[in-house]
């Protein structure tokens, strides 16, 4: 089925935004790492615009260039900020009153409306949006609408969003690359069979001859492997196939639905506790200007451990009973 709004259009739009940021960096004579930062953001923009038709090997080497630039400390945010002063912002806030909230709230509201409707709209035989893309396209649409409302409400000039957006993105810096990099690492781990090695290791060290130990092995395996991969979905098939199904369901007659539901939650406890889940844990720390990039993970570790234990005992008490 053809879709009228392919994801490529959105990626091209993102590429253009990042390209504008790269150009701004290049034009900023006071930027501490002017040319290397511009190169970094320029390459990042290129991966969005051309990622679908440039050979992967070329993109791969360009990504290596980005990694090296970041590792050498050549991708920095400009230190001084030329934005508005606090007094000016208070004045503007008094003038705009509650209207300033409309664009901010438009993002979640339009996203939800889009998610519920967009994949049902059809034009002849073509759907407007493919079902698997609908959340992302809705979010994209929501930000575009919010962008227009924001410019209308604030009467800001066109250069303001790029200036301010560039400042925010540079504050997040090279960490913005981490989620994609970690996904790629997960792919390499997957191809190399790291998951099976982990599941053998857990099975080998935990004698799974009683039901409780089987539950412990499965939950620990899900949490550990999720922490390694940064992604519970990647862990699920490997650990459930390797430990959960043979030990809990087949050997001890456990309920597969309960095992799967609570097993996935064990994985999420791992997601709370690992810097590898960069889009949930590291990028937000940069986005919120926290000095310690692991600050969010550290706050989540007590919750993760407590919830892991509750969840594991719930599984033990429920999985063999229903």
């Amino acid at each position: 089925m053809k879709s009228l709004v392919p994801m490529n259009d959105l990626y091209a739009l993102i590429g253009l935004i990042v390209a504008m940021i790269a150009i701004q960096v290049a034009l900023n004579k006071k930027h501490p790492t002017r040319w290397t930062s511009a190169l970094f953001w320029g390459i990042f923009a290129f991966t969005f615009i051309a990622g679908d038709f440039v050979p992967p090997l070329i993109i791969g080497y360009l990504v290596i260039v980005m990694v090296i630039l970041a590792a050498l400390g050549r991708v920095k945010a400009p230190s001084h900020s030329e934005g508005s002063g606090k007094d000016e912002r208070i004045h503007l806030a008094q003038r705009l009153k509650w209207k300033i909230f409309i664009p901010a709230l438009a993002i979640p509201v339009v996203t939800v409306i889009g998610t519920l409707t967009l994949d049902r709209l059809k034009w002849g035989s073509a759907v407007l949006v493919k079902k698997e893309d609908v959340t992302l396209v809705s979010l994209g649409l929501a930000t575009i609408i919010a962008f227009a409302i924001a410019l209308y409400v604030t009467k800001a000039k066109m250069n303001v969003p790029f200036q301010e957006g560039s400042k925010l993105l540079q504050a997040v810096g090279w960490a913005v690359l981490l989620p994609q990099m970690l996904a790629a690492l997960g792919g390499i781990f997957d191809k190399a069979g790291v998951g099976n090695a982990v599941s053998h290791l857990v099975k080998g060290y935990l004698p799974a001859d009683n039901g409780f130990v089987a539950v412990v092995a499965y939950c620990v395996g899900m949490t550990l492997f999720t922490m390694v991969m940064g992604n519970a979905f990647a862990a699920f098939a490997v650990i459930t196939g390797g430990i959960g199904l043979p030990l809990i369901v087949h050997a001890h007659g456990g309920n597969p639905a309960i095992m799967a539901a609570l097993g996935m939650f064990s994985g999420y406890c791992g997601t709370l506790m690992t810097p590898m889940a960069a889009n949930f844990n590291i990028v937000p720390a940069m986005l919120l200007n926290l000095d310690d990039q692991n600050a969010v993970v550290k706050k989540q570790i007590p919750t993760g451990i407590a919830l892991f234990l509750v969840n594991m005992f719930l599984m033990y008490f429920l999985v063999y009973r229903f």
Binding site: A93, F101, T111, E164, L168, L177, Q180, A260, L262, L288
Partner: protein, 234 residues
């Protein structure tokens, strides 16, 4: 076992605080090499998945220009004025309400939040201002802690709420897995058995917020005592 060397690289890299991008790339290359892939094979595979996962960077890049404009035009200051009027509110209460709304809406299949979409522009500033209205000026370290809690609430609510809804990726993934091994497991069963843990996630987070508020209170008192002492000395 040699394949696990990549995990070791990651752990050591994080411990010694090397550049994270470098650690991730290094771990990928080493793991690929020990499992018999050529360097170019590894780079090609790495790049393919990197490109496939571009959607992960989408929310943040698309929302930042909007949030940039709004913050430049006084969004945070407006939040301050609003919260300053609501004298009874506290940082933990604001985060608890967000946790509740976010988890409940996720459970009925609505994705209303996100770190870039709601936490940075709205939730974190609201909580910060509420703490300052109640306890006076707090050290930057404490303000950072409040922001970190805001991010933690977003994650906890979203992870554990989402799985209760039948049409989410997680439930579909599980049911796809069972299909692939020739078993038939009902999606409603999987969704509903998630309820006790989802409730526990809420209660544990509630307790964490309660403790946070106590700590804020202590910080507030020492900060006040300091200013009072300073006043007496003058």
């Amino acid at each position: 076992m040699l394949k696990l060397i990549g995990i070791l690289v990651v752990v050591i890299g994080f411990l010694f605080r090397f550049n994270t991008l470098l650690v991730v790339m290094g771990a990928g290359i080493i793991t690929g090499l020990v499992s018999g892939m050529s360097f170019n094979d590894i780079i090609e595979k790495f790049s393919e998945i990197f490109v496939q996962n571009r959607y992960m960077s989408m929310a943040i890049i698309l929302t930042l220009p909007v949030i940039g404009v709004l913050e430049r035009y006084g969004l945070k200051e407006r939040v301050e004025m609003m919260i300053a009027k609501a004298k009874n509110t506290t940082a933990s209460r604001i985060l608890l309400v967000y946790l509740f709304i976010r988890e409940l809406s996720a459970a009925i299949g609505l994705n209303i939040g996100g770190h870039a979409q709601t936490v940075r522009p709205l939730v974190a500033p609201m909580a910060e201002v509420a703490a300052q209205v109640r306890y006076g000026k707090l050290p930057d370290k404490v303000m950072q802690e409040i922001r970190a809690y805001a991010a933690a609430m977003e994650n906890t609510a979203w992870f554990f709420g989402e799985d209760i809804f039948i049409a989410t990726g997680a439930i579909l993934l599980m049911s796809g897995f069972f299909h692939s091994v020739g078993m038939n497991v009902g999606i409603w069963d999987m969704a509903l058995w998630g309820l006790p843990t989802a409730t526990a996630a809420f209660l544990i987070s509630w307790f964490r917020l309660y403790r946070l508020e106590k700590r804020l209170g202590r910080f507030g008192k020492t900060a006040q005592a300091k200013t009072e002492k300073g006043g007496a000395n003058k």
